[in-house]
């Protein structure tokens, strides 16, 4: 009897485990897709965190929303569209290419090209400047005369 009770007592911790983190382990495939998607989405409360890493309550709700949408069989793009319709392009870490974002996307390349252009011009200038530095025969003669003068003084 005592052994039986002991064995029964060993089962008690299992009860405590039952409810824990059910949400997360429910379906690992859904969870993995949710996390991957949430990493590309911005949390609006703490703006420099992704939805996946934020502890804000709204982020919690939105992760739950994404989970449900995944279960309903929506594609990643449909889920993103759903969030963009409510929170704007701001929720996307990668902004879409459209009229208002042309400068954002092209800006770095324009700056790079401009920088390369300036560098090219500068290098050309330097090259021609070096060429001009070659002393003329007359100048060399003068220099030699000056040097021999110095020697005589010593």
């Amino acid at each position: 009897m005592r052994r039986f009770l002991l064995a029964l007592a060993c089962l008690v911790p299992l009860l405590a485990y039952a409810g824990e983190a059910r949400d997360l382990s429910d379906d690992p495939v859904t969870e993995k897709r949710m996390v991957k998607l949430a990493e590309e989405l911005r949390c609006l409360v703490c703006q420099n965190e992704s939805l996946a890493s934020s502890h804000a309550e709204l982020a919690d709700d939105l992760r739950q929303e994404v989970r449900e949408k995944i279960r309903k069989g929506l594609t990643d793009q449909q889920i993103k569209d759903y969030l963009v319709a409510r929170y704007g392009d701001f929720v996307l870490y990668q902004p879409p290419v459209k009229r208002t974002t042309y400068l954002l996307w092209a800006g770095p390349f324009i700056l790079l090209l401009a920088g390369m252009g300036i560098l090219y011009v500068q290098l050309r200038k330097r090259k021609s400047a070096i060429k001009d530095e070659t002393p003329s025969a007359e100048a060399l003669q003068r220099a030699a005369a000056m040097l021999s003068d110095e020697k005589e003084k010593i």
Binding site: V45, Y87, G88, D89, F90
Partner: protein, 175 residues
Amino acid sequence: MTRFILPFIVFVVLVIFLFIGLRLDPREVPSPLVGKPAPVFVQPQLGEASKVFSPADMKGKVWLMNVWASWCVSCEAEHPVLMELSKLNLVPIIGLDYKDKPEAAMQVLNQRGNPYSLVATDRDGRTGIDYGVYGVPETYVIDKQGIIQYKLIGPVNPKNLKETILPMVAELEKK
């Protein structure tokens, strides 16, 4: 002298950009919902759970929807402004009690006064998500056709009320 002019111009342009940047509030994310119909919902009313509220009930009226909660600190700051506004009787204010316990919300209204024509409850925050709520308090100006015309993020204060919200309400009222 001339070789300093170009860097100086670049510097001035940079300062102008940074100055503009400093004056922008990064918390104010433009809402894609402005110009779109207010999302549909049906939620029980605070204090009268048997009655429901839906934005369709307000068709033909210009109205404000104020998202608030008893746990929200900035809502406390805007509360006196809303009280003043409700006394003016210019525009109905519908409250949306966001992720809140009805008892706590009732207690706040009993203590500080109730500026709302009625309050709809959004206990799980679903309606909030449909409206793109990310920081209470938020206030929406909705026109007679049920189109969201403006969204204010953060508390209503005498300045934005007088300069933005009330002129907009008056304008929409004429249409």
